[in-house]
Subunit: 344 residues, 2 copies
């Protein structure tokens, strides 16, 4: 076997590195007038509104390179930003990606990262148009900004939910959190007993949701085809409990979520029990599912009723009744933001 090639980043220098990493990226959007290589990128909103979202991802805080392949990390870094654009009911068109790396990263490692970024660009038809590449004193830092467009009348904010609206989610919840639990468990076992083989069987779905989530691009097309405009929408990144509270706060309403209607996959359900966790707690507080949380007017219920993708999980109420979870046994619990707090 040939020894794996390792090229120190210093061999290319900053501009050489940028050229090397981005040379395969092709622009696919007519709105991308100028990409990498000048002081700034130039975009044409073509008469539409421009939508901008940004995320900062830090090694050791947002990802662990011990179990995160760099290609997956590149893919996920892009997708989580695109998810924010979709959740405005807008179409992502361009991204900028800035990275800071410590000296332990080789050009080949960055190639892996950018292969994931490239794949995400291809799958979601967005153009990489800029960024910054620099060094860090400790680990990998990734900053992604996504830019999209929408007709003004199509934009969906967090503040439009009204009493009587139905609360809906796409897909199922809690899987990404349980995927993370598996990876963390295997890491602990590996650190204590490096000779033990990892036990990842039957957890492809859960680990996949954690390491390589997808954004709900196709749902926007469905909304358009069905002439359905949600009254409010956001993506589930911090966890259902925390995120529905944002919608309720900004809309000045309350809500009732019904435990029995919250979608949890069979895989997630069984894995939760294996970890002695309550599956619904994982679905409520897990985070990182990148599913869409949205509200619709009750008369639009028939438009989504036949689609497996959607679950109606609750109803918007008056502000005064607060935000509650109604359990299977008809108990009422006040919903709390128990999502991930970076600062605790």
């Amino acid at each position: 076997m040939e020894p794996k090639q390792t090229t120190p980043v210093s061999q290319l220098g900053e501009f050489g590195l940028i050229e090397h990493l981005t040379k395969n990226f092709q622009h696919v959007n007519a709105s991308t007038l100028k990409g990498i290589g000048d002081d700034a990128a130039v975009l044409d909103s073509e008469g539409k509104k421009t939508v901008v979202s940004t995320d900062l991802l830090i090694e050791g805080i947002h990802f662990d390179l011990m179990y995160t392949p760099l290609k997956h990390l590149g893919y996920k870094s892009v997708v989580v930003n695109l998810s924010d654009i979709y959740s405005m009911n807008a179409e992502p068109k361009q991204i900028t990606v800035s990275i800071a790396i410590s000296s332990r990263f080789t050009v080949e490692a960055l190639d892996e990262l950018y292969a994931g970024i490239e794949l995400a660009c291809k799958n979601y038809k967005v153009d990489l148009v800029g960024g910054d590449t620099t060094s860090s004193l400790s680990g990998l830092i990734i900053s992604v900004t996504a830019i999209g467009v929408a007709n003004a009348e199509d934009l969906v904010y967090r503040n439009g939910a009204k009493e009587g609206d139905l609360v809906c989610v796409t897909g199922d919840l809690g899987a990404a959190y349980l995927g993370l639990q598996i990876l963390e468990r295997e890491k602990r076992i590996y650190l204590e007993h490096p000779e033990v083989q990892p036990e990842l069987e039957n957890s492809d779905y859960l680990i996949g949701k954690q390491l390589k989530p997808e954004a709900r691009k196709e749902v926007l097309k469905f909304f358009k085809d069905m002439n359905l405009k949600p009254t409010s929408m956001m993506d589930l990144s911090d966890g259902l409990s925390s995120d529905i509270l944002h919608i309720c706060k900004q809309s000045g309403v309350g809500c009732e979520l019904f435990e029995a209607q919250i979608p949890v996959s069979e895989d997630a359900y069984h894995m939760a029990l294996k970890f002695n966790l309550d599956p619904i707690t994982c679905a409520l507080n897990g985070g990182e599912d990148y599913e869409l949380l949205f509200t619709i007017e009750p008369e639009d219920e028939t438009k989504i009723a036949d689609e497996d993708t959607f679950s109606i999980i609750g109803i918007i109420t008056k502000k005064e009744t607060g935000c509650v979870l109604v359990t299977r046994s008809n108990n009422r619990h006040v919903l709390k933001a128990q999502g991930w707090n970076h600062f605790e």
Copy 2:
């Protein structure tokens, strides 16, 4: 004296912190339809082209908090991005700011940083419309994205310089680099002899250029008023040598720069000699001046001739003659990119 208040960031949590830091920011641009608080910001390009630039700043690489006041750092982080937008001959309108902080940063420290960001927003009339706030394992990380607009016909790229064009710069060069040398010297002295008072007298201008640079907003207005469109333009961040090579490479041309015409302030000149440095080398390779480097057609020379702001420092030549510096003694030196390489 009252003890200075210190509030741990964990007391506010992520969303509380964002609200706290951004509550004083007012939007001044009609094109800012929606700012902080949703999944993404919404902007209206009003029929113009959108221009986007982004920078990632890392503690220990791009700034040293030992001699950089946080307010200055916030100001500079914004200004260096706006400078990229101006150098496209575009007008900045919005910024996003993401930060990652280690546990040693208090809310009060971040208030200082955001006071600087706010001042830059005010001085340059841009709106803060989004960002991300998270924790880091080591030090402060700042990622800024600036968004601007321009009429398509006004945009100036790096690739438009033609043989015979005049090479021009604004202001003077090398000052920011010498400001940095003073700060680094005083840091070394302080670390060895904490009792010695810093010797910063007569270096306000140099230190100011390093710690609190300004972007050349007024030059764009001048270009417009004079009906002058540069054939190429960029801002001087890496150093004149490195930056003129970008213009020549992208334009497919060569250049002659004349040592005698490169503007160096009296302060910078004397400080360079004090450090046993060649003033012209500081001007060529120093970087971080954030002055504009641009080329104009020779018939436009009269439009800038009466303005102290501008210096004509060279001429664009055929590609084949390369990029050279013509010294006072008429020697020719090939220009090399000796700007700052983060990866060396």
